[in-house]
Chain length 239, copies 2
């Protein structure tokens, strides 16, 4: 893990860019060490530098967590793949035409999850070797990757998933194997993400402790107080 730049934020949080082999990432660490860790992944492979993700990560680090984000293969600062670019173009065209998009999502997001999960595990290994990071480890964000990680990675102790994003059939099927405490965040009128599918997924998770928070509005309308509610969820399980 090579750190390539760093800046100290006003609230004492240290924000560092890193590379780990081909993987570019950002690590936020609080003043106090060793800190519990949250892996923060953006739905459908959106870039780690996306302002809403960065704002969430900084808020979380200011509350005493180390937070890490990485770019998924083909996204953010990473080389584009022709197949992924084609899938994105197909998606845009199908959405504009009002055509079904499930099979396009499946062909695009399914392989992306398969590639992203081992990279998250490699990143987790590297992060946990840093003296400023302790444990336990939580996960936040991208549901499909989080489901797969929670199934294969015993070091993930609790997870907050955002329902707005395509979840491949493989992850919908293995949801019942997820048994860690979950907070599942749903936007009630999320355009393009069917509500019933999200409710079915919440129902399917195998966790004894799982909580659904649903709020009004579309995909990006999650109210600010959910950031604080999420913080208390992690505090209960990781501190």
């Amino acid at each position: 893990m090579q750190f390539t730049s760093e800046q100290r934020l006003d609230d004492g949080v240290l924000e560092r860019e890193f590379t780990l082999g081909e993987i570019p990432g950002t690590l936020w660490t609080p003043g106090s060490a060793p800190a519990p860790l949250i892996l923060m992944a953006h739905n459908n492979g959106l870039p780690k530098g996306e302002p809403r993700l960065v704002a969430r990560a900084r808020h979380c680090a200011a509350n005493g967590y180390a937070v890490a984000a990485i770019d998924a293969p083909g996204g953010g600062d990473r080389p584009r793949s022709a197949a992924a670019e084609q899938a994105r173009a197909d998606l845009r065209r199908a959405m504009q035409a009002g055509e079904p998009v499930d099979e396009i999502f499946e062909s695009f997001i399914g392989p992306l999850v398969e590639k992203a999960v081992p990279e998250w595990r490699t990143t987790l290994d590297a992060l946990l070797s840093l003296p400023e990071i302790g444990g336990p480890v939580g996960y936040s964000g991208w549901t499909a990757v989080g489901v797969r990680l929670a199934v294969v990675e015993p070091r993930i102790a609790a997870a907050g998933f955002f329902a707005g994003g395509y979840v491949p059939r493989a992850q919908r099927e293995e949801a019942r194997q997820v048994t860690i405490p979950l907070l599942f965040l749903l936007q009630w009128d999320d355009e393009g993400n069917p509500r019933q599918r999200a409710l079915d997924l919440f129902d399917a998770f195998g966790s004894k402790e799982k909580t659904l928070h649903a709020n009004m509005g579309g995909h990006v309308g999650t109210p600010w107080f959910e950031l604080e509610d999420g913080g208390r969820f992690y505090d209960r399980h990781l501190k």
Copy 2:
């Protein structure tokens, strides 16, 4: 409003029994005054002295709220009505036999809501005349009474409803007239309270700000952290 007994709890909360005409009630007030007020009603007219309601009320008062509970007509410390007793017996028999219970609930809860709501308004008038109670006013608990109150009583500024309890058709129909901020608390596997009906009710509320919290388990299994989440909901809207 006549106070008939009082005790000071360890955390400084004053707990007083009162009568207001035929209505018996309990008022909890915090050390500091004037306090915002929460009207706390138990689903389906369960008694104000029920231990879980009392625990919630004391917790809430310790956080700086005046809290009031009253017994609904025919319940708690009030004279039983032959009709209500018959309906309760019919309900038990129908539930044991696995027969449909909607029409029995409708004939029992519908009139109870009609009688309880004016009593809550009378109680609210009396409470707001006390110097130790300021405003604004919130509501907590029994959904059916809360829907009706929120529609007819402009002094109710925010409400937390518990989904576990029969909501008469009249209140399901007027749910879209409710426009105040809501927190709707659902037990995902609440025996005897169909989940889909609760989700439909959440969908129907007219409020722009409404949040659903769903947790695992049966009717009485709400996790303790929802009490704190509820407190923060009221803090956002009443303090």
